[in-house]
Symmetry: D2
Subunit: 482 residues, 4 copies
């Protein structure tokens, strides 16, 4: 609906009052035009009402919202429950078209616009925060792990014989399962331990390549963002190996977009090494509900391979979340979130060091991890692992979520592969530790509250080692994996 | 919040007025208790306000909604945009836990309940509409095709050497791509043509098994719901082969839950043959937005294999849609939708036959297809294929979506496999035809409007064969595939 | 926002897909244009999404929603709470302008349109359902009683000396208080009782006019819709008196728009008698939340007098409710509600008669009341009034609201005026009775449930006269007045 | 719904996960309990989701939301349009009961709680910001002017012969019309002019009392918040007269709650003088949509007189807005808004003085006005009043709303009373001026933008006196009255 060529009778409204109202909307129309024509993320966020107007506008272009629709097919985006229709702004057709996530749907011009515009804005964001060389990207409405599986399966089509995926160990279950889910064979490259911090073992990567044979290796698979004291993988060196040997390189950049350092690293590599795909989650980087990932590449054609591997039409819900969030934040809003994360991380680190010092512990130095920190738990109940794992549930009970207590001796088998000292990314953990992160969206207030609670728990644990009996969280909580 | 142990001062409200209000809510509390304790789909639908209360209630159990939360991890379900939080009822944690879609999340009791309750209600629905032997099922927040890929990959783990998937041809792109996406080798079993209707070629299935060798065959893969004049696959006979040879059997039951006939067939097979998984889409069967599928089985343990193949935590948005929809419809609501589909299909068929008769055409007899119908287009512009394909876009322009015009001579290559006469499920199509469906949610009013428009287009096409020049939809529209 | 002159790049969306989407919206734009230009109630209701689009569109014309607003006044429609803004669709300026409810606001073109359009649609509705002579009407965001006070005060300005309001007794508190609230003197005209039904005492009206003197009488004040066994006032005869003596006539038509009979009566009078204003509530006639009234007249100029008596700007919330409701129903929707009321009233009456007959009671014959019915309670506990009043709370406890038990002997003093047998509209009630109504929106299902519960209570009351001790609703409930 | 006595099967959710979720809600339950039991405004604002939970919870207590309701009355709060029901959180019964705004409704325990809780929180707020002696207050869902009329009519009942209302002139239309709307006789007390600022003429008040006779005077009627260069009335001295002569005193405190100075004045008076009622608008003081007023008093019994003068049940929409807003802000939130207003007013004043100085104008000194400022327009086009009035529309066109240009020579007749130099509150205006305000909610950013635009208009007006021809706002815009 618009007021063009509507002759509102003076009896309803004096013409000059209307003019004023219409004039005021021109800037909004300009933003709208610019958004669709230039596909750039606005510098400043849009107000809620404008975001909803856009979204509603797009939805009217879908055939299920046509006033006189006659749906004579099997899938007409009918929505039985009004509440559901409402929460999806009447979008029902999903995105993509059987067998290509990037294709336009004739029945759903609005959903098509929604998906493509979202991809364009994500690309603009990525370029704007330090990845000008990013050639393209698109949202996949599946979790990061499943999206990595899809990338692996896509690579598999090009290299049908190659079965091995060389993977720098990280004790995060989905990272690993992404390989086995794709029916491929993981080859675990253990990290190098230096002063209890973990680094990529480039030498071992090189050796494995030679041992297994280039033609048998599907790709090298690294991870950036991770729990301390593991560092971001040395994607720079791995990407050089990748280029040197002509083996694809896949980067799990799960929540790395929030880290200026990781972003800088990625951009730098583009010129000297090889990365085929880098994949990041939408929830942790863009603060939307869990369920989407972004596949990005320095080579646009590689993206199409992934997009048309997806066998079907997919949920548009994640695109909608990301579109609304990006418009709400604007480039400035997102950059100030990053800025804040940066400052809060330093704040957390300084305070954690103080805490450690005064309690005879150490914050393990991880030069290449700007999100997560690890503090040793060597003095506390050194004799009883039980007490230490209690710390995790004590924190959890008091409202602290996301910290992880890692103790030696945990063994975990995933899809037939056994991991010693699981959770620590290594086989020979000596000293238990606790990880704590300052991620995008963490507030200074939360950090302060954390130390408050942490101190209290520490004291309590020193006093009554067994006070936690009436509330046993399952062990897995203590070692929460995302 | 609840009124228990809240002593509302008489000054605010006379005690007896309050009592009346509280008493009235007991039945609601009973429904709530029953739902959670018995996990049965309510017979009658709930009112909107009650559905939202439930959903909000569940969300308060997630840690991101705790008043005093201190999130010190990487993924704390922070939601930057209030509109997004609102549309997800503040759910952010997704469902499942790294590497298992069915696992509980310590951080997210509400999301866990949401996912599991939804699965329980779907199961109850399936049993209630004719599948009492269904042992379990769960929602996967991916499209049907990708979910089938996941099932294939899961089967692959059990039969690592087996590469071949024996597939009864159906010209629906995602069905086929689900095989190649999983890195497997499709073996196409052409349909048998009888009076222009298409049937499963059981003999050919049997022969291929012998030729390729049982140990090399991953599974038999059939499809029920499909475009006429293809019939539902003869899953009864295929499931007997499956059992006889010990080869898994996967059924793509895309929108088959709406068909009492297909449901009856599935239930019957359980006793005599073998089906490992049957997969159906949520959008077409439950009238929610695109993006989810349901994996079901007669053997619960098989389901866990699929669930823990998914490498990560997944979107909870689809579960939310399904939960709200099921509660809104109730068992009765869903059954009356099915009833309606049934009646409307007969209505459509009768009218289409009348139309065909009066225009010198034929409705191809498909005894095993209760959703889609095909009418020949033999008299209309028999010389010019161009005119016939125009019919599709003419209908589309006039608001009719979902019909498909199929003409001989279309060749399509998908992932290296060439399909002659693509769209017709066969290699030797002679007579062009149009498909039209009466699916779940189609209204009688739409059917009437369809015939009105169809008649007009027919006449117009007879008169001016080239009137459609100023509005050319791309060819693909005419052969729309879902 | 609109797509005019926005050049969507082909990369985002193929032009022909967009065209289809845009074409489909033309009918919506036509409805919008027609609504604003012709100001007629649509014949068929609009879908929710279209209603919200309209409302949002209007709100964007208000200065508080201008993107670059600079509010330097005292009242800039700032809304502190986002939830509040949301529920008002960002309308904040209210309607009217200091001292005239019908004036346009320069700052708020949208709110102005909202208010005027709503008034226009109400007028169209009223004309459409049988009042073609209605010259105008407007919504006042105050309850019916207060609006009647405003009308009385307005009349007062024209007849400054006249203090008396001749009022045909109806035992509905607000009706009466509307007179005293305006600082005027009520003169009560008792009803005539014929076979226990109550009728307007025209003779008494005539006599009072002569006794008090025309110049001292502000107006005659009648009521149409009312509780049985009182009938609608004989507005036909009163309006003739009104015309004959040149005394204004005010009709409280509280919920009379739903009754075809009352509407017919009003229209007929227009030609032969005099009615200055007839006032009706929005909640009961249009099924919106309580809080608004409609002042209508056969003489448009009289309306302006009322509108500019209101000293200020008023809430726009009621206009919004009515606009949305009218658009949602359409003329057809409203007429079918009336039709339903009509049928349900007959259904209720028949069943009540059956019930009465089988229980030795009588349904009092009220020829001019088409909404409410009264059944005697003569056989039940004739000795104990206590038991009879219990019936009211028993029904209430069991979920039946709106029925009233009227017993002899109640005395009520309102603003210094004493009413004997209050609730019965007369001074000499002998037989207690129960009123029950079938109003707009009552469903047949409710009627059935009512008889079910009524029967049970009747039996129970016969058995245990004192079973109701642990739940005493205050007496006033039993005689609920609206 | 609540989890008490619901035995969630472990299969759905591990018990300890549930415990954690339930534990986290205890603080919310405590807030809820405290709110209802103590009826105090929370110190800190509540999050949106908690506010909505409360509101939904209250609504479930109303009979229209009972699952098994059987509505057999005329007014059952049926809501036809789902969108309307939704925006009112399913409240439909309004507040109060026929003839008393403060009474409880048996049918609507939730609406009753809503209304009374809101009144309690407003009272707590008023006491908290400096009016500890305030004995009571309640929200009236009518504009300030109409509410003042209601207060006047209420006073009238106690003093039936008294017709005169002594009113300190303020050129705000509704203030004055509130008197005539009530059928009373305004006696205008002109202000005293001192250096172009306007003060209450106490002497004149005293003289008029003697001349007209105490028994003939209904009340003294003063106004606090107003446009500069009028000052807040000297309510201190008037209240002493009021007490001395035993004449009621009514204060129009339209938007005075935001001014610490006016609040202090009111509280001080309580001890030495007399104020019967002080009335304030909800929109300007609490930043909700237009439509409500708060009647407050130092004597609770006086309030009941007003409440039970209202002839009917009233809209609950305004109570809902205020409740949600107060909970959203909390006491701290409101106080920081006041603080901000205070600082911004000083900022505006300083900048306006600078502007005046550099343009040869003067900011008229008004010692008792802390919201509005007036700057002379003596140098600009002194010859042409036309140009000056253009300034108003120029500003308006550029997005500045709320400023008023006041020029000599305007005559306005309201209800038969002629006002010379209307808009200036005096009869002998010489120098035109512009008013500009910094009210609650004005941002510093708006003030900066205002000066930017003001400067530009000033220059433009100096250059082209007639550039404004193609956009003529009606004269009334220039002298906007609220």
């Amino acid at each position: 609906m618009n007021f063009d060529q509507v002759n509102i009778p003076g009896k309803l409204l004096p013409a000059n009052y209307l003019q004023l109202g219409l004039a005021a909307q021109r800037s909004k129309q300009r933003s709208f035009k610019e958004l669709l024509e230039k596909r750039k993320l606005p510098v400043n966020g849009w107000p809620d009402v404008q975001i909803e107007e856009l979204v509603h506008k797009l939805a009217t272009l879908d055939s299920n919202n046509f006033p006189h629709k006659v749906g004579m097919g099997e899938r007409e985006a009918r929505i039985a429950c009004k509440l559901v229709a409402r929460r999806h702004y009447n979008f029902g057709h999903g995105i993509g078209r059987s067998g290509d996530l990037l294709e336009a749907q004739p029945k759903a011009a609005g959903s098509t616009l929604l998906a493509r515009l979202t991809n364009a804005l994500i690309l603009d964001l990525m370029r704007g925060i330090g990845l000008p060389s990013c050639a393209g990207c698109f949202l996949v409405p599946m979790c990061t792990g499943m999206t990595i599986s899809l990338c692996l399966l896509t690579l598999s089509k090009r290299r049908p014989g190659a079965k091995y995926v060389l993977w720098s160990r990280i004790d995060q279950k989905s990272c690993f399962k992404a390989i086995t889910a794709a029916g491929l064979v993981p080859v675990i490259i253990p990290c190098q331990v230096q002063d209890d911090a973990l680094h990529t073992n480039i030498t071992s990567f090189g050796e494995k390549i030679k041992v297994l044979g280039v033609q048998n290796i599907l790709c090298l698979y690294t991870t950036t963002s991770c729990f301390a004291p593991r560092n971001s993988d040395d994607i720079y060196e791995v990407s050089k190996l990748s280029q040197q040997w002509g083996i694809p390189h896949l980067v799990n950049n799960a929540y790395g977009l929030q880290s200026a350092d990781i972003v800088r690293q990625l951009e730098r590599i583009h010129r000297v090494g090889r990365i085929d795909y880098f994949v990041q989650s939408t929830d942790k980087n863009l603060l939307v509900p869990v369920g989407g990932a972004i596949v990005a590449s320095f080579d646009e054609s590689l993206l199409h391979n992934v997009a048309n591997s997806y066998p079907g039409r997919a949920s548009g819900s994640q695109s909608l979340d990301v579109l609304m969030t990006l418009l709400s934040l604007g480039l400035n809003g997102f950059q100030s979130l990053i800025q804040q994360q940066n400052e809060n991380f330093i704040y957390l680190k300084e305070n954690l060091k103080k805490f450690a010092k005064s309690h005879g512990e150490v914050v393990i130095e991880t030069r290449l991890n700007f999100i997560s920190l690890a503090i040793t738990l060597s003095t506390i109940a050194a004799d009883q692992m039980e007490s230490i794992t209690q710390l995790g549930s004590m924190l959890h009970q008091r409202g602290v979520s996301g910290t992880r207590v890692v103790v030696p001796g945990q063994i975990k088998t995933i899809d037939g592969h056994e991991f010693l000292d699981f959770g620590s990314h290594r086989n020979d953990l000596k000293v238990p530790y606790l990880t704590v992160a300052s991620a995008l969206g963490t507030t200074r207030n939360e950090i302060d509250k954390f130390f408050d609670i942490f101190s209290k728990c520490w004291i309590q644990l020193g006093q009554h080692k067994n006070d936690n009996q009436n509330f046993n969280l399952p062990k897995s909580t203590d070692n929460e994996l995302h």
